[in-house]
């Protein structure tokens, strides 16, 4: 159990701040417990007894809330008086793929209001899939004088104006991490808002913003922030400018380059190469937009100590990748585009024996004429060369059961197996059979599996396998799969550690939905869209499980009885009070 959500429903009498506990053993215990960082450990600790519960809640400084609607800010503040760092996740994950309408919710503002009152010394806020407005950013900037770290991933609702306010007011800022958000990029002047006296920045990531920024301002900022260890710039920064930044930041540990395709003079290239040679601390490299084979050799000096390389915006070909990887023996994590093809992945297998994580993104996911990209052969090649591989995200257009069986035989330690065969419902292309045996092999062999995304043509058999074997599975993503309710039932009755189940376009109906009655309270959430669930089924679920929020979003033009999108989650905060009209709470 990773968060305190469930625990908060008990011991509500303990929430009185004054009931702290009087004796010194509690303080000693607090001291000890303050060393505990993992929120799972903390949850466990809080369940031991009342004294431990109290000691834990007074010693906790970071709270992780995996579903912002599972609990209210008031409840959080009542239980944990000393929070300095908050991580909040909002919308269902499928909102990343536009399956959740705009204005759905997950607004941070009510949280900020409570935090301003209860946690005036808040230092860190990390949000994922939340909505945050510029007004909220301003509120944040002025309410928390000690504010240090802001990380926004996959959020929306704000613009670069909000960033400007943060830059202007947060005098102690150490981290500004703006990633893959729905941000209204109005321009790059926000970066110039950091005062000249401001020197505390340690991590700056604006890689996903598109506007040009004032390079002089950036250069000065980087120059005076001597503790900066993470710098990820956006595409507007050229190679020449990159060199100028780096020369004053040789302590950097993580670098995200800008555009990697400028025409350089020989001298410029040499300077870049020399500066990169001096950047001996860089272990993470990303960006590399439009990287050309021509300039990649400049990176070789950095490659020798790289552990994480992200080429997911650099459409390299196999040869270019191979040459680059030959210099990256220490690589643990690699993200690439499928332009590298199977040959490129063979190079991965041969050059990166320590590889633990591989993500292969499609450069052109929609065009059916593409006959390139990666196939099962590339994945197999990696598995032979990288036995430590435990995290994979693989987009491909063809796969076979046999290949997957080989892969997991070579790499039995998978914890995250996310395979996306991009054509929905596609069978094993050699045998024309469903891909059931592939995922069967995965769950049978990879006993540590925590996260699984399935794809291809799948019958209920896949889910029988999952339910029977995937005993450590926590997150399951299913799309265009299954034959009947039985499939989903297998999963709900079989996977003891299941926390998140997201399903779309599957023939699972009310029987399947209701078979999880005993399960949903131990899960964070269930998402079902474009399945066969009806409003009646959802109403029944809501009736029988009052501690669950059962929310339905209907599509225009669908039948009255159809429950097009269903989102079910446990909550001690009761039904949402901020639900927009299109979210029906049953």
């Amino acid at each position: 159990m990773e968060s305190s959500e469930v625990n908060m429903s008990r011991d509500s009498s303990e929430l009185d701040e004054s009931a702290r506990g009087s004796s010194s053993p509690d303080l000693a215990l607090e001291r000890v417990l303050s060393l505990l960082k993992s929120h799972r450990d903390r949850s466990s600790v809080s369940l031991v007894c009342k004294d431990w519960y109290n000691a834990e809640r007074w010693s906790r400084t970071h709270v992780f809330i995996g579903n912002c609607y599972s609990v209210s800010p008031e409840i959080v503040a009542r239980r944990f008086p000393k929070i300095r760092s908050v991580t909040l996740k909002g919308k269902p994950r499928f909102s990343d793929f536009n399956l959740v309408p705009q204005n759905w919710g997950a607004d941070i503002h009510p949280w900020l209001v409570v935090f301003a009152a209860k946690y005036p010394f808040l230092e860190e806020l990390r949000l994922k899939r939340m909505t945050i407005s510029d007004e909220s950013l301003e509120f944040l900037a002025v309410s928390f004088p000690n504010f240090k770290a802001l990380s926004l991933l996959s959020c929306d609702g704000f613009s670069t104006d909000g960033l400007a306010i943060i830059a202007t007011h947060c005098k102690n800022l150490t981290e500004l991490d703006i990633q893959e958000n729905g941000i209204d990029d109005k321009g790059g002047s926000w970066l110039s808002c950091f005062p000249e006296s401001f020197t505390s920045l340690e991590a700056l990531n604006f890689a996903n913003l598109t506007s040009d920024i004032n390079f002089d301002a950036l250069e000065r900022l980087v120059g005076r922030c001597k503790s900066m260890r993470v710098l990820k710039v956006n595409r507007s920064i050229s190679l020449e400018q990159l060199q100028r930044l780096l020369v004053n930041a040789l302590q950097l540990a993580e670098l995200g380059t800008g555009s990697f395709s400028q025409e350089l003079t020989f001298r410029q290239y040499e300077e870049l190469e020399s500066t990169l040679s001096s950047s001996k601390n860089i272990h993470t490299l990303s960006g590399l937009w439009e990287a050309k084979g021509l300039h990649l050799p400049a990176l070789y000096p950095v490659c020798t100590h790289l552990t994480f390389l992200s080429l997911s915006y650099a459409p390299l070909q196999s040869g270019e990748l191979a040459k680059l990887l030959a210099h990256c023996p220490q690589l643990r994590r690699l993200w690439v585009l499928d332009t590298v093809e199977d040959e490129g992945l063979e190079a991965v297998g041969s050059s990166c024996p320590l590889l633990e994580e591989l993500r292969v993104f499609p450069a052109d996911p929609f065009d059916e004429d593409i006959i390139h990209g990666v196939t099962e052969a590339g994945f197999v090649a990696v598995s032979y060369g990288c036995p430590r591989l435990h995290y994979v995200l693989y987009f491909c257009r063809q796969m076979t059961n046999a290949a997957v069986a080989t892969i997991v035989q070579n790499c039995p330690d998978f914890t995250h197996f996310r395979l996306c065969i991009m054509d929905p419902g596609q069978p094993d292309y050699l045998t024309n059979e469903p891909m059931d045996e592939a995922f069967g092999a995965v769950v049978k062999t990879c006993t540590k599996l925590q996260r699984l995304s399935v794809s291809g043509l799948l019958t209920d058999l896949t889910f029988e396998y999952i339910g029977r074997y995937a005993k450590n599975l926590e997150t399951l993503s299913v799309a265009f799969a299954g034959s009947s309710d039985w499939g989903m039932q297998c999963v709900l009755t079989g996977c003891p550690k299941l926390r998140k189940l997201e399903i779309r376009d599957c023939p699972f109906g009310n029987a399947a939905l209701l078979s999880g009655l005993d399960k949903y309270e131990s899960m964070r959430s269930l998402w079902m869209s474009a399945c066969h669930v009806t409003m009646d089924g959802c109403r029944q679920l809501a009736r029988e499980m009052p501690r669950l929020n059962v929310e339905v979003m209907k599509e225009d033009g669908s039948d009255d009885s159809e429950a097009d999108k269903v989102y079910v989650y446990r909550s001690i905060a009761g039904p949402r009070r901020d639900a927009p009209p299109f979210v029906l709470t049953l």
């Binding site: 499928f94 793929f97 159809e562």
Partner: protein, 274 residues
């Protein structure tokens, strides 16, 4: 109830997975044979007559740069902005379209409002598929714009007849060869409203509008392997009737977008000019 198919010349431009909209009741089948400035370029570029500033570099991995561009109501700047946060409709998926989308397309092309576009199940089960974050989709679009092939040349200015703006070259080629103009086939991309995965059709392989319509019917209005019938609910409404695409009795209409960004009904101009 109308469905929509968009035929585009040019294979470029991607959208985030979720900008594909579902078939709404007002959709039209749209055939867009837009003037593409670059063979592998996003057709989003067309109406704006955009130059991508700084010239075009030969992309070493040309095929890696293109995306199928599916025109949906959400793509239009008037209803969608470049980021996911400002889509106005609560019932539509948030979408981040490339900001390069032609404004001309907005008025001419859309047959449905963004509001009516909702991610229904059934015919649009591939909304949001493959599961790639909107941001990443848009980034690839932006990269595709910047690396158009040098070999391309726009000849559209010379054409008076709007239908003859279809260039006699292979748009579907993903090889960065300069001699693409020598090829005889003329592939155009066809998109159906609500289905994000487009298909390519060789116009030169068909002798008439009827033949083209038949092919399109086969591609889109029958169950194809790319569509999982399991999740399909709305498909029953779209059962193809032979040759009905052209005479108005189908739920769908074939239209295309000319170089001026106007939507035109297929069939007005003699096939030979196509």
């Amino acid at each position: 109830m109308q469905g929509g198919v968009v035929i585009r010349v040019g294979s470029g431009g991607g959208s985030e997975s979720g900008s594909m909209s579902t078939v709404s009741r007002e959709d039209n089948m749209v055939v867009s044979s837009e003037d593409s400035s670059y063979p592998d370029e996003s057709e989003l570029e067309l109406g704006l007559g955009l130059s991508l500033g700084g010239g075009f570099k030969i992309q070493q991995v040309s095929r890696g740069g293109q995306y199928a561009r599916i025109l949906t109501a959400k793509d239009f700047p008037s209803v969608v902005s470049a980021d996911a946060s400002s889509s106005p409709s609560p019932s539509s998926s948030s979408s981040s379209s490339s900001s390069s989308l032609s404004r001309a397309n907005v008025t001419a092309g859309t047959k449905r409002s963004a509001d009516s576009v909702a991610a229904a199940n059934g015919s649009s089960q591939v909304v949001g598929w493959p599961p790639i974050r909107a941001y990443r989709m848009n980034s690839m679009v932006n990269q595709a714009k910047a690396v158009a092939t040098e070999g391309f040349k726009s000849t559209m200015e010379n054409h008076k007849n709007e239908t003859s703006m279809l260039e006699k070259r292979t748009i579907g080629s993903y090889q960065n060869s300069g001699n693409s103009k020598l090829r005889k086939s003329l592939f155009v991309k066809v998109n159906m409203d609500g289905i994000p995965i487009g298909r390519k059709v060789d116009l030169n392989a068909h002798e008439s509008y009827e033949k083209l319509a038949k092919t399109l019917e086969d591609m889109f209005l029958k169950n194809t392997t790319s569509v999982n019938p399991v999740g399909s609910r709305v498909r029953e409404h779209e059962v193809a009737r032979p040759s009905k695409l052209l005479d108005g009795s189908s739920d769908f209409v074939l239209t295309y977008e000319d170089k001026e960004g106007d939507w035109m009904l297929v069939g007005d101009v003699p096939w030979e000019y196509v």
